[in-house]
Symmetry: C2
Subunit: 410 residues, 2 copies
C-alpha cells in the first residue's frame, strides 16, 4: 500500500510556486533565472525521492526509478514548471509535483514497479518568447522543427541556443527523442482551467480528447467613410458586418457543440481600421479560435460559417492560420483513471480538454491520458488560479492509483 503525503505535496506547491518574479507573481518564465532556480530545487527533490535525474537533449528533466522487469518501456508522468506572465500557482506544477509525490511514496514504501517510472518536467510548455509552445514535449516526440529551433526571442537569442544554455543538446533534436512504443503509458494530472468539474461538484475529470485547435483569420472589408455624412443606405460598414460574423460564430458553435463532440469557437481578438469614433469602419480583422474534439468539426466549421454569413456587398474572407489536430486519449488509460477514482470513492466524469498540454506530444510515444482536478471558478493563467489541498490530494491519489494499475495491466 502506497500513501501520498498530502501535507508534503501542498508544501511542495507553495515552495515551487514561490520561485517567481517578486514584482509579478506568479511568473516563472522558461529560460529565466527563476525557472533555473526552480528546476535546481526540483532536481534535488527528485533525487531525494530516489529518482535518478538526467536532462534529455531537449532539457526536459527526467527523474527515473528502475522497474523490476527488464525490457519494459517506462510509465511516464509529469507536466511542466514554467508559467505565463502573471500566471497562477497550479498550472503545470500540480502535475509535476503530484507525480513526484507518487515517486516519493514508492520510495517510502520500498515499492518497485514492473515498469520503470519516469517523472518528467517538460521544458517550456507555455507560449514562449520564441513564439513556440510545448518546446520540451515537442522535441520529445520529434516535433520541434529546425525552423522553430532557429526562432529568436526579443533579445535575439535563438531557441536552439536557449535550449543549449539550460543544458540541452539542440543538435540532437532532428530525431525524435522517443518514438511510438517507447512509452508504456503517459498520464498527466492538470488543473481543468474551466468550470465543468466545479459546476458538477466532481473532484476528478477523465479527459477523453484534447481538442484540436484551428486558428483562422476572418477579414471583413467595407469602406471607411465619414460617420456623419454617409447615410445608412450608402454604407459599407465593416464593423457592422463583423458583428454579424461574431454572432454567426457563436450560433454555429452552440448548434454543433455536444453532437456529440465538444465544440467551442471564439472571436476574442479584433482589429478595426480606422477605429475612430467618427468613421465608419473600413476593415475588420479578427481571429477565430476554433476547438473541437473532432477533426471533422475543425474542417467543416469554416465552410458552414461562410454559408451562414450574408454580408451583402461587404468582402468576407476566411483564411487558415494554423491547425493542431485532435488528440484522442487511450481508452485503456481512461478506463484505468475512472476505475482508480471509483476505488477511491471519488466522483468523476469524462470531459474534453479545451487547452493544449504536453500530453498532446506524449501521445506520439504511447497510450496517453489526463486527469483533471477542479480549479476555483475555472480561473487559470491569472494570479487568482486556485485549487484546494483536498482537490490536489484527490487528484494525486487517482494518479498514483492509475499508474499502479497500469503497471500491472500493461
Amino acid at each position: 500500500m502506497i500513501e501520498i503525503d498530502r501535507e508534503r505535496l501542498w508544501r511542495d506547491i507553495e515552495t515551487l510556486a514561490g520561485f517567481t518574479r517578486p514584482d509579478t507573481p506568479w511568473t516563472r518564465r522558461a529560460f529565466s533565472p527563476e525557472y533555473d532556480t526552480a528546476r535546481r530545487w526540483l532536481k534535488a527533490a527528485f533525487v531525494e525521492a530516489g529518482l535518478a535525474v538526467e536532462l534529455d537533449a531537449a532539457a526536459n528533466i527526467i527523474g527515473r526509478r528502475a522497474g523490476s522487469e527488464p525490457g519494459l518501456p517506462p510509465l511516464v508522468t509529469g507536466s511542466h514548471t514554467d508559467t505565463v506572465p502573471a500566471g497562477g500557482r497550479f498550472d503545470g506544477i500540480a502535475g509535476v509535483l503530484a507525480s513526484l509525490a507518487f515517486a516519493r511514496a514508492l520510495e517510502a514504501s520500498g515499492t518497485t514497479l514492473r515498469h520503470p517510472l519516469e517523472v518528467i518536467d517538460f521544458l517550456s510548455e507555455e507560449p514562449s518568447d520564441f513564439g513556440v509552445s510545448s518546446i520540451g514535449s515537442r522535441a520529445f516526440a520529434g516535433k520541434l522543427s529546425a525552423e522553430q529551433l532557429a526562432m529568436t526571442d526579443p533579445s535575439g537569442e535563438t531557441l536552439a541556443a536557449a535550449i543549449a544554455r539550460v543544458g540541452g543538446a539542440p543538435a540532437a533534436l532532428a530525431e525524435p527523442l522517443r518514438r511510438m512504443g517507447d512509452t508504456a503509458a503517459y498520464v498527466e494530472l492538470h488543473i481543468e482551467q474551466g468550470r465543468v468539474l466545479e459546476r458538477a461538484a466532481l473532484p476528478i475529470g477523465v479527459v477523453d480528447h484534447i481538442v484540436g485547435i484551428r486558428r483562422l483569420s476572418l477579414v471583413v472589408t467595407g469602406r471607411a467613410d465619414h460617420a456623419g455624412a454617409t447615410p445608412m443606405d450608402a454604407r459599407f460598414d465593416a464593423l457592422a458586418g463583423a458583428a454579424k460574423v461574431i454572432t454567426a460564430v457563436e450560433t454555429l458553435a452552440n448548434a454543433m457543440n455536444g453532437k456529440p463532440h465538444y465544440v467551442v469557437a471564439t472571436v476574442g481578438k479584433i482589429s478595426v481600421s480606422p477605429n475612430a469614433a467618427n468613421a465608419v469602419a473600413g476593415r475588420v480583422e479578427m481571429i477565430l479560435d476554433l476547438r473541437a474534439g473532432s477533426n471533422d468539426v475543425l474542417t467543416d466549421f469554416p465552410e458552414l460559417l461562410m454559408t451562414r454569413c450574408d454580408l451583402g456587398a461587404l468582402g468576407f474572407e476566411i483564411a487558415p492560420i494554423s491547425t493542431a489536430p485532435v488528440t484522442d486519449c487511450a481508452p485503456e488509460v481512461m478506463a484505468a483513471i475512472a476505475a482508480a477514482a471509483d476505488r477511491l470513492g471519488l466522483g468523476h466524469r469524462t470531459l474534453t480538454s479545451g487547452a493544449g498540454h504536453d500530453a498532446v506530444n506524449a501521445a506520439f510515444t504511447g497510450p496517453t491520458g489526463m486527469i483533471f482536478i477542479p480549479c476555483r471558478e475555472g480561473r487559470s493563467h491569472v494570479p487568482e488560479e486556485w485549487s484546494t489541498p483536498e482537490q490536489l490530494y484527490d487528484g494525486a491519489r487517482v494518479l498514483a492509483e492509475t499508474l499502479l494499475a497500469l503497471d500491472q495491466s500493461l
Copy 2:
C-alpha cells in the same frame, strides 16, 4: 451683373492648398507655420479684392466691404483654411475662396451692397491638438469657455496662448464677439463630404439641418475566460454581446432614418479586453456616434437601443459623453439658395449635413444656411478629396446669387 472668375477661383484653390506640409499632403494644421503662411497670402488676397482686413479677438480673419445703407448688420460668408492631418484640398478653403471670389466680383464690377459684406476665415475649425474644434467660430458666438482656453496641446501651450500668438486677444473672449442679430445672414459653401449629391447627379445641396451629434459610451461586461476550457454555455462573452449591440445600432438607425429626419448611428471605435485570440472577451468598450436632424431622436435613441438589446447575464451600460444639438438652417436662407440655383439652371435638393461646420456657431448670430457641392465618391479628410472646377464654380455662383438676393430681401 457680377461675374465669378472661374479660372481665378480654381487657381486660388491650387495656391492655398499648396501651403501644406511637404511630407504629408494635404496638411495645414491650425497654428502651424504652413497655416501662418497661408493666412498671410489670404490677407493679401482679401486686400487685393478691396476688402478691409482685420483680425478679431479670436484671430478670425475678417475681410469687410462697406454697404450703402447705414446701420445694417453685415452679410457674412466664409469657412476655414485649416485641415486635418493628411486631409484634402477643398474642405474649408472651397468656402473661403468662393466667398473671396464673390467679393472680388463685387469689386471688379463696382457693386455696392446694401449690407456690409464680411468674408471670414474662421480660426481652426478641424479637431485641433488642443482637443477643441471650431475654435474661431465658437469664440465668435461666445461659446469658447475658459476651460477650453486653458486646454493645452502636446507641447504644453495653452489654447489662449496659441490664439494670442496668431494675433488674437484671448482675454476678450469671455463675451461673445457677435450676438444674435449682429449678422444679417450667414451663408457657407462647403463640399458635401458624402455621396448624396453625386449619386443624385445634382450640383447643389441646400442644407436643412446640421445634425446634432451625441456621443455615448457603450460598455458590455462579461467575464474573461479561457477560449478552450470554457464551454459555450458557461460563457459571458462580452464581444459576442457587443456584436448584438452593434447590429441593434444599425437596425435601429435604419428604422428611424427618414421618418422624417436624417439619422445615422455608427459604432466605429471598439476596445476589447483582453483582446487575445485564446481568451473569451471580458469587457468591450465602444463609442456610439449618433447624428440626427432632430434633437428628439438624439434623446430617444439610447433608450430604444437599451430596450432592443437583450444581452442576458452580460452587463450593458450606455453613458453620455457629449451632446451638440441640431442646428436648423433658416427657411429664408434655404429658400434664397434654392431660388438662386433655379435662376442659374442648376439642379438642387435639400439634405442634412452629417458633419459639423462653422455655420453651427454662426447660427447663434443670425439666420444661417449652407450650400453643399459634390465631392468625388464622398471622400473627405483624405488626400483623394476632390471636386471639379465646374462643381466649385457652380457652387460659387449660387453663393454669389444667394448673397445678392439676401442683400435685397433682408
